[in-house]
């Protein structure tokens, strides 16, 4: 309940934003437009869920955007190589595993490098961002790889609707949200994450398996980026080696707008969801209100700055 009370200002901000945009855009609050909003934020929210854990332990992961591209290209490349013109569920699972496996390799590496060496996570993930991007560009000369029309299951991941209403990406997003919330707020692993972010030395002396926790955190972040990449790829009907640039920054913005402290130790999964929703509403609302694109950047920057400023003030 305490969590919800902390979130009241952010929830209020959502309601105010929705009402404001309703004034300018008469169709803004239609169920269809709102459903589209949840679908639009799904990729960023999933990235931000993983990023929350990383930021909670005082780290950062700049590679998630490149991982999105790498997972997409790996999966679609494998799929078209082994299954050709037919759809085969087994081959599809194999290809998805290959994609997520690539993400897992990067995540494990981040965790090990961050916990066992003195290299700062900013630099580790900056370097692996370049490496992952380069790997993605190795496929198909850097050109987009189309997903064949026969791959209906993969295409449904990004474009399908459950019971003809709820977009599949939203179902995936909400499932992951619940899982991550349980993991962080209801398990011993979650407590360790907070302990690690609050005071690393103390965590070490209390016998918390620091290295294992840190590797798990980076691994989860990369694998979630992989899932986001799968949705992204499916939504675009193709794997695009150059896609996902700057995704890490939007994800970080959602995390900090949601009240997670950038120095670690404080923040919630629910806050991140709210942060992603606020950014999504801003994107959609400014677009539909017909605001010039130059002004959109300024407003978004100002909102992020304000949200973080208020958060810092409150917790001084």
């Amino acid at each position: 309940m305490k969590v919800v009370r902390q979130m009241i200002p952010l929830l209020a901000a959502i309601i105010i934003l929705l009402l404001l945009f309703r004034i300018w855009v008469p169709t803004f609050l239609t169920p269809e437009n709102m459903l589209d909003l949840t679908q639009q934020i799904s990729v960023n929210t999933i990235l931000a869920l993983g990023m929350t854990l990383v930021i909670l332990i005082g780290g950062i992961d700049l590679s998630v955007g490149a991982i999105v591209a790498l997972v997409g290209t790996t999966t679609v490349y494998c799929l078209s190589a082994i299954s050709g013109d037919t759809q085969n569920v087994f081959y599809l699972l194999l290809s998805i595993l290959a994609g997520l496996g690539a993400a897992a390799v990067f995540g494990t590496f981040h965790g090990i490098a961050a916990s066992k060496t003195a290299m700062p996570p900013f630099i580790i993930t900056l370097a692996s961002m370049l490496i992952a991007r380069g790997c993605a560009l190795r496929f198909n000369n850097g050109l987009p790889i189309p997903i064949g029309d026969q791959q209906t299951i993969l295409l449904a991941v990004g474009n399908g609707r459950l019971f003809g209403v709820v977009p599949v990406p939203v179902v995936i997003m909400l499932t992951l949200f619940v899982l991550m919330a349980l993991l962080l707020h209801r398990t011993r692993f979650g407590q360790h994450v907070y302990a690690l972010g609050g005071n690393r030395e103390a965590a070490l002396y209390t016998g918390i398996p620091v290295i294992r926790v840190e590797v798990m955190v980076y691994l989860i972040c990369s694998v979630l980026a992989g899932v986001a990449g799968m949705i992204h790829t499916s939504q675009l009907y193709s794997a695009e080696p150059g896609s996902g640039e700057m995704f890490e920054l939007t994800a970080i913005a959602a995390v900090v707008v949601g009240g997670t402290s950038f120095t670690g130790g404080r923040g919630t999964i629910f806050g991140t969801l709210i942060g992603a929703v606020i950014i999504g509403i801003l994107d959609k609302g400014l677009n539909q209100a017909g605001i010039h694109y130059s002004l959109q950047y300024i407003v978004k920057g100002a909102v992020i700055l304000m949200a973080v400023y208020l958060d810092v003030r409150r917790n001084r």
Binding site: A12, L20, T27, T30, L236, Y237, S243, Y293, V299, R313
Partner: protein
């Protein structure tokens, strides 16, 4: 106090936006737009606005639509195809009367095209090709006649340097550039005296062309002409030749018609550029959209003129644009 502040923040922040927005007439987008013939809202999404070409193209669209009493919102996809997809669905759900797209990733546009066709929103693709399979989902494509641009470059070169020993700087992932080189090569067949020494990739940028050109100077002592696929590429070639002190021995032709390219022609560093007319592309795309909405048939593949710019007409072109 603090939570009260939080309530106020979005309000304060968005107030200037609200006044900026009210300059335009109130949109009644809740009503079906198709019944009206003026006062409609149109949307455009370009892969980037960080390029004068697209700024001009947008201006051409806007002028034509506003002359008809309609409005246009231009959105910047920032080379991000997911942002473009989201931007397009925002426009479609808002009930715009029509959409102009320059895709970030032409493989990735299908979802948006399907969504638009479900909602019966017509789409025109500007300055890009479209996949055969997607053709029925759009009204038409409007783009520069890139084959012609290549032919003009070859003709200009043949006139001043009939014995040309030339290299081509290519950007072979780009359909427009493929067309330019194809047109150039077709025209070259009429001039058997001219020989292509090499075709190299140079990324279509100034930085990309410099090192490639330096290598080529070293490798081909008899090299005396260059066809670069766009102005930025040609500027890189000029810079490489200048530093090797060979600029006066080599004729450079290119395609684009940017301010920087024409300045280089006036300075005598570049021989010609086959100019594109982004404003005209925008204007024609808008005309086609309006015609389509009136129920008139529209050609599927609309080509916009290109024009050869040399030292003779450079000044005139700069003035008229």
């Amino acid at each position: 106090m603090n939570s009260a502040l939080r309530f106020l923040i979005p309000l304060i922040l968005l107030t200037p936006v609200s006044s900026g927005c009210s300059e335009s007439p109130d949109s009644d987008s809740s009503q079906p737009a198709s019944a009206e013939t003026t006062g409609r809202l149109f949307g455009a999404s370009f892969q980037t606005m960080n390029n004068p070409f697209f700024v001009d193209l947008g201006a051409g669209l806007k002028n034509e639509l506003e002359a008809n009493g309609d409005r246009l919102v231009i959105l910047d996809a920032q080379f991000n195809s997911l942002k473009q997809k989201n931007d397009l669905s925002d426009l479609i759900l808002q009930g715009v009367a029509g959409i102009f797209v320059n895709p970030v990733n032409w493989e990735g546009l299908k979802g948006s095209l399907l969504e638009a066709s479900r909602k019966k929103v017509p789409v025109i693709i500007v300055d890009a090709p479209v996949k055969k399979a997607d053709e029925e989902l759009i009204v038409c494509t409007v783009a520069s006649d890139n084959v012609r641009a290549g032919e003009l470059a070859a003709q200009a070169l043949a006139k001043v340097n009939p014995q040309a020993r030339l290299v081509i700087l290519h950007l072979s992932v780009n359909k427009a550039c493929i067309d330019r080189v194809a047109g150039f090569k077709t025209e070259l067949e009429k001039h058997p005296e001219m020989k292509i020494l090499d075709v190299q990739e140079a990324q279509g940028t100034t930085e990309g062309a410099r090192p490639v050109m330096r290598d080529l100077i070293g490798r081909y002592p008899d090299l005396n002409s260059v066809f670069a696929i766009n102005d930025p590429n040609a500027l890189g070639v000029i810079s490489a030749l200048d530093s090797a002190n060979k600029l006066d021995q080599v004729t450079i032709v290119t395609v684009d018609g940017s301010q920087a390219g024409i300045k280089a022609i006036q300075a005598g560093k570049l021989h010609s550029t086959s100019a594109q007319f982004p404003r005209e592309i925008g204007q024609i795309a808008a005309e086609k959209m309006l015609a389509h909405l009136r129920g008139e048939p529209v050609d599927k593949d609309v080509k916009v003129r290109v024009e050869l710019i040399t030292a003779e007409n450079a000044e005139q072109y700069l003035e008229s644009n």
